[in-house]
Amino acid sequence: MIPVLWRASLRFLWRHPWQTGLTVLGIALGVAVVVAIDLANDSARRGFSLAAEQTAGRATHQVIGGPRGLDESVYRALRMAPGDLPMAPVIDDYVAPAADPGRSLRLLGVDPFAEARVRDYVRVGGGGTPVTRLLAEPGAVLMAAETADSLGMAPGDRLEVLARGRTATLTLAGYLETTDPALRRLVRGLLLTDIASAQEILGEQGRISHVDLVLPAGAAGGAALERLRALLPAGAALLPAEQRSAALGRMTEAFHLNLSAMSLLALLVGTFLIYNTTTFSVVRRRPLLGGLRTLGVTRRQIFRLVLAEAAVTGLVGALLGLGLGVALAELLLRLVTRTINDIYFVLTVRELSITASGLAKGLLLGVSAALLAALPPALEAALAPPRAILNRVVLEARLHRGVRWSAAAGAGLALVGAAVALVPGHSLGLGYVALVALVLACALLTPKLTLLLVAAFRPLLAFLLGALGNMAARGITAHLSRTGVAAAALMVAVAATVGVGTMVASFRDTVVHWLDESLRADVYVAPARTAGGAAWPDLGRGFAERVAGLEGVAEVATYRRVVVESASGPTQLVAASLPASERERFRFRSGAPDAAWAAFRAGGAVLISEPYAFRHGLGVGDTLELRGSAGPVRLPVAGVFHDYRSDQGVVYLDAGLYRRLWNDEAVSSLGVHARPGADIGQLMARIRALPAGGLALAVRANRELFNASVEVFDRTFTITTVLRLLAVVVAFVGVLSALLALHLERAREMAVLRVNGLTPRQVWLLVTAQTGLMGLTAGLLAVPAGLLMARVLTHVINYRAFGWTLQWTTDPAILGQAVLLALAAGLLAGVYPAWLMARTPPALALRGE
């Protein structure tokens, strides 16, 4: 490259700091959002694998049991068998400090003598004689000094905790100490205790969560596997350790993918921006580039020059974006982990892990987006004959032809997108392909539609502002080379807010409606539960009967909620005893309600929720296979019902059937129906007054539970809202930059108008009318585009990610806001250019040219 060309290029960028700055900012924001989401996702995943590692250690396999884990005799049978395979019994659960019930601490109960060969524990120090104390003192626990500090504890101190609905007292016997940073992360938030203490703390005598095994590789491992399997009772299963944790990890994959896809939207908008700027810079420098060509600079050199400029801009923007992204990731990580905690499992991620690959990905995306976006203008600049570059009219004329091409391409792409969206199947990736195709189609159609809309608005503007109105409208049409792309960028961003907003609104309406329908009981009773706790504590059947006998109680529905583990992941089971009024709340997606309930009550069939049916490919008439306490259990599916509690789905079965198959009499929660006219407040007081065997009870009225559920829902979508706003910010920057360019370029035109008698106020009017009109046009176009996106998001993406059918809701407020947003962005973007043009003396502007 000739240094002179570089200097010309640099000088141009330098002379247009706003232009350059905004482009850099646009790229920076786009990259920042992608990087931030990437880092937040990565950190959350890392937090998950760390949590898995906390328990897994070197274990290659696990023996798992039924809903309440394993009977400890299973471990004894395995351990007493010949051979000396490393194996360790584990009790894995969560407890909460009584003083801070919202906080979950992982309680790991282990046998120190079995541990060494399965898990790398750390040195135990402080507090005297920890192992002896751990074994001999009930409630003795070890934790990292950091964890103790956060609880305000020193060795010897006691801690009251809520465990399985009861309170228990722990004593800090010593610290888990390590200098190895990897191990230090592992023990964070972990309470390590002897397995005897763990049983006492949780009130789970006789039970363990699972057994960890380290089996050798190859044939010896296979033989050991066979030998051990033969020792297991029917209700237990021996599975590869990673299989179970992978199944758990898969639960959040759709969630992470959706976030990544949304972050790419911001980058897409940023790409429009670069395209816009580069096109502008080519247009603006047409005399220079034309001159260079006549002086003998080759096409290749021009092409390289334009691309190099874009690459540099992209690089600078991307670098800035990395810094911004890391900062943003801190915020997003909190939102991501909160959502995972609300919906999936307890996940404590204390720190953002910034990976080189995450940053490199952001950098690469930013620069490639810039290069890609600069490709058409670079070709444009390089391929045009020297004279033509000098001729602006040729360019505009060509662009107007391009509008037709772009519209045709857009229509074609729209058809492709629609076709892909309509292909049945479960592929989330294809769903996103359809979405991107449709978004691009809308963007390609935007210039043509803008022309049409502006033409439609012209009489109105002319009526309102007279000649100025006419001029404003024509300005947009005449300068389509810049306005078209700016309008498309703004349209895409606003459409995204409409699409995502409508999807969330539909989702929320569906859930609220469903909650309203499904929360039929007047009072709900359940033990206070620690987030992440392995099993729901048992209220006791006696308690349920006592509640049923209370004055003012008409009927009581009992529920037993458990998780049955299998190789394909956990299945949530609800064993229910439902009075007629509770049964009415179920809305069936398939299966005739009467027949379904008859089969359910006869005690042979199950009802499954929609996401469960979706995930496991089950329908009415199919058979569901689960691990029962006496071996595999095959149950026919009698109905599929709507349920929005869990995206993993849930299986309902009759309480009596469950007791037979899983040998578990426990009751997890109650739905209490009051007699007509009974005072709910008094009823709740009477329930609270019942002896509950030391359990801390959560007794909640219908409305309370409803509100709490809606609150969780809203919290879940906070991150979506944040991403949506970020896309709008990027789009706004884009519009600002495009309009700025346009009007700076038109400084001479304005000067001519000023010389011809246009007042500064009229300049203001002209400019703001023009930008306002552009905003309005983009906003109006964004409504149908956004609704189209919402359709795909709701019916394709959401269904494929989570298996939910959502009712479609269009909220006029969201649509109105979108148009206003675009209009405001347009008007606001006009302020600076208008101010600049009104202020510049015409003579100066003319001389400048």
Binding site: M80, G128, T129, E177, A196, Q205
Partner: protein
């Protein structure tokens, strides 16, 4: 002497269970003294001689802090192929006053076991270790019928009497299934079974031995069962006492001589290399009559040294032991030099052959030797 060593083993092993990455002994990890909890206050102590009651005393004595059941023996096939074995169960109490607990995992006793097999012809020595709490029946001991076990490693009697006693132990394809048929009467060590370890009162153990027990059964090695017979030695000891000051290790000999007599002697080594005056021994004749040997009645000379390729520890592996008053002079040679147990704590314990003379007549024999405190 075994007492001191056993405690060391057990406590360090307990520590290692939580700090397998080793290095636990250097700062930050457990300290032996800490784990011992000072002076063993609250546990029963061996203060004076007591009457021994059998078979009750074959069972555990949980009031005392530590205890072991210690089998060693020399075995031969009909064709003369020699094997040596060691199977030891150690018990260690955590607390003198365990709290009442509502769980089957409650544990106040910890068991550890070592199993070794010396394959003289194959030139291989195999050593294994296990540990467990006494919960869920994973490990334990009882007197009637006698049993001590750690998972599927067991020594078990069939009826009220200790013998016949069956030993069955297997690990990694190496197995021992022996029936111990009985032999000489029980030998009470020290003063009527009270074995004093130092001048301090209560620093002693209750200690009795079966010095020659006819044994037969099977050794399994590399998929082959070898029918074997020979004689075993059974040591029983329990106490609460801790380490004596200034002692660095000991050399212990349990020899079964061809004239029907058995000789036990331990030399306690002090830091300056001298022999601690509490070193002692006993000679048991063919009818079970005993003669106590004071430390100055026995002369012991170490022969050649062997350096462990695994640990770098240097052990003396040949000995000259003589009791001038009895005109007894013995050359003791290991069946293999490498009979080092590189387990929670390292020591050398192995089968030996004996060659010598008494009253001018040639006298052979077999036995076991234990060497501790040789570094590494």
């Amino acid at each position: 002497m075994r007492l001191v060593r056993r405690l060391t083993h057990l406590l360090l092993a307990a520590a290692l269970a939580f700090a397998p990455a080793l290095g636990a002994q250097e700062g930050g990890g457990f300290r032996l003294g800490e784990l011992l909890g000072g002076d063993g206050a609250g546990f029963a102590r061996a203060l004076e001689p007591r009457p021994f009651r059998f078979p009750a005393d074959h069972g555990p004595h949980p009031d005392y802090r530590s205890e072991w059941w210690y089998f060693t023996g020399n075995l031969r096939t009909a064709g003369g192929r020699h094997f040596g074995y060691q199977l030891t169960f150690f018990r260690f109490a955590l607390r003198p006053d365990p709290p009442v607990r509502d769980t089957a995992w409650a544990a106040n006793q910890v068991y550890m076991a070592h199993f070794t097999l010396t394959d003289t012809e194959g030139g291989r020595f195999h050593a294994f270790e296990r540990m467990s709490r006494d919960s869920l029946g994973l490990a334990g001991a009882r007197s009637q019928p006698f049993a001590v076990w750690l998972r599927d490693w067991r020594a078990e009697g069939r009826a009220a009497a200790l013998f016949p006693l069956r030993i069955s132990v297997a690990e990694e394809g190496i197995a021992l299934d022996l029936t111990l048929e009985g032999g000489k009467p029980w030998v009470l060590q020290g003063d009527r079974g009270l074995s004093r370890k130092s001048a301090a009162a209560g620093n002693a153990s209750y200690y009795y031995s079966g010095t020659r027990i006819a044994s037969r059964g099977l050794v399994r090695l590399a998929g082959v069962d070898y029918p074997v017979s020979g004689s075993s030695w059974f040591d029983r000891e329990w106490s609460t006492s801790a380490l004596g000051a200034g002692q660095v290790g000991w050399d212990w000999f349990a020899l079964q001589l061809d004239d029907g007599s058995d000789l036990m002697y331990y030399r306690l080594r002090r830091a300056d290399g001298s022999t601690d005056p509490h070193s002692a021994g006993i000679l048991v004749d063919g009818e079970g009559r005993t003669t106590r040997l004071a430390h100055d009645a026995v002369r012991l000379e170490a022969g050649r040294e062997w350096t462990s390729p695994a640990t770098g520890a240097v052990y003396p592996v040949g000995w000259k032991l003589s009791v001038p008053a009895l005109e007894l002079s013995l050359e003791i040679a290991p069946r293999l030099p490498d009979q080092e147990l590189d387990l929670s704590v390292r020591y050398w314990e192995g089968a030996v052959g004996v060659d010598g003379e008494r009253d001018g007549r040639a006298l052979g024999g077999v036995g076991y030797v234990e060497l501790t405190g040789y570094g590494g």
